[in-house]
């Protein structure tokens, strides 16, 4: 770290510090119920709760942001007018509400974490065969998706018959056939299944969609679907 970069950072931080207000020094603890709700839900998160993700670390551009008087004085419009889903310009990601205590039994197992207690065998509700047909983003594979009911929880199991695009973040969605609304089931990882949020009717949000998502902190659908297929009753 050079003296010059320290000086640059010091200047930028001085500008940031000059904007501090009295309220900025105040911290308020959230209500106790917030942690209780997190604790009771985290099992869903471990098994693939469809949450959003933040933008990660701020890049060096942070200080360019702070150093720009123009940025500090006003808010540059953030260009989000791109029609993300090329076939449905009006599609918006459904606002996700936290659903509180889930209707299932959760046991906190100490060091090994949380475990779900249910003796129910999953009941298959619907199947889909998402393919790349008709999509503008090329991908040579296909998938099989099964919506199932495990206890009181709906979930989606998806398997891919070809390797997924390397180095890309992929997100799983359920979308209404008229493309008027959608809900994210989260980023595709090594989950066994992806929780379908309570209140989502899989025959209303019947399109299973997999999209390539840039790591830009934007929670909306990128429009770059590689797989799509409709759930049909089992």
């Amino acid at each position: 770290m050079t003296d010059a970069s320290d000086n640059d950072d010091l200047s930028a931080l001085r500008r940031l510090a000059s904007k501090l207000t009295d309220d900025d020094w105040v911290r308020t603890q959230p209500p106790a119920a917030a942690w209780e709700a997190i604790e009771s839900t985290v099992e869903s998160t471990v098994h693939g709760f469809a949450g959003d993700e933040g933008s990660g670390a701020y890049p060096m551009a942070l200080f360019h942001h702070v150093a720009s008087d123009q940025v500090l004085e006003g808010d540059p419009p953030i260009e989000r007018t791109t029609e993300r889903l090329r076939t449905a310009p009006n599609v918006r990601r459904r606002h996700r509400r936290y659903f509180g205590v889930a209707a299932m039994t959760v046991v906190i197992a100490g060091v090994i974490g949380f475990s779900l207690m249910t003796a129910d065998e999953p009941e298959e509700l619907a199947q889909a065969r998402p393919t790349n047909a008709g999509l503008t983003e090329p991908y040579g594979g296909a998938a099989t998706a099964v919506a199932e009911l495990a206890g009181n929880q709906q979930r989606l199991v998806i398997g891919f018959d070809s390797p997924l695009p390397d180095g890309e973040s992929l997100e799983l969605w359920l979308i209404k056939p008229d493309l008027s609304d959608m809900t994210s089931l989260g980023l595709i990882g090594d989950n066994e299944w992806y929780v379908i949020p309570p209140g989502i009717d899989i025959f209303e949000y019947s399109l299973v969609d997999v999209s390539i998502e840039p790591d830009d902190g934007d929670p909306t659908h990128s429009g770059r679907s590689i797989l799509r297929g409709e759930l049909r009753p089992a």
Binding site: M1, S5, D9, L10, L13, R14, L16, A17, K19, T21, D24, W25, V26, R27, T28, Q29, P30, A33, A34, W35, A37, I38, E39, V42, S44, T45, V46, F49, G51, D52, E53, G54, S55, G56, A57, Y58, P59, M60, L62, H65, V66, L72, G74, D75, P76, P77, I78, T81, R84, V91, R92, H95, R96, Y98, V111, G186, L187, G217, D218, P219
Partner: protein
């Protein structure tokens, strides 16, 4: 001349070690890390939310932030910056989503054709300010005093040394180390 108090060193080490330990554990998916991270950072996230939305929504967003963060804990990289700014980034997006949803219900505007609300810049600026305050709060008393003189009174290193009686070399090293901590606390590190 100010003599470095042993307690200053101990507090510095304890604070930095504690936060660093939480960050590493969280990235690694240690089941206890979520609760530790919540204990460490929930006030920051909740306070950020309260400045933009009502208390009930703020509580909802806090829950969503920590659940989403835990869900994607593998994407957090301690070497790239602190857990606090990573969580704040998630919170910022969720606040924006909430404001948009509320706006949509109130005004029924075609959201796709509309630019993001101008408040996103306000929220980001607010987030940076809160993170800066928290980062200063993790510094030991002497370093916090020195960096405060640099930030808020715009004193030079020489002026700080003259004001405090701390040797110039110590002032410089305190500021350098403080800047490293603050960079981490704001979410980036120089490679």
């Amino acid at each position: 001349m100010t003599v470095l108090a042993t307690s200053d060193v101990q507090r510095d080490d304890a604070n930095e070690t504690r936060v660093s330990s939480v960050e590493s554990a969280f990235a690694a998916g240690d089941p206890r890390a979520l609760e530790r991270a919540y204990a460490e950072f929930s006030a920051l996230i909740y306070s950020l939310c309260l400045r933009s939305v009502d208390a009930t929504s703020a509580s909802d967003i806090v829950q969503e932030v920590f659940i989403a963060a835990w869900r994607h804990h593998r994407r957090y990289e301690p070497a790239k910056g602190g857990l606090a700014p990573w969580l704040a980034g998630i919170a910022r997006n969720k606040i924006i989503d909430h404001l948009r949803a509320a706006d949509r219900e109130a005004r029924r505007i075609d959201r796709v054709r509309q630019n993001r609300p101008q408040t996103s810049g306000d929220i980001e600026d607010l987030s940076l300010r809160l993170l800066l305050v928290d980062a200063i709060g993790t510094l030991p008393p002497r370093a916090a005093s020195i960096i405060s003189l640099a930030f808020f009174e715009q004193l030079t290193h020489v002026e700080i040394a003259a004001r405090t009686g701390v040797p110039l070399g110590t002032v410089k090293s305190d500021i350098r180390r403080s800047l490293e901590r603050i960079r981490h606390g704001l979410g980036y590190s120089h490679d």
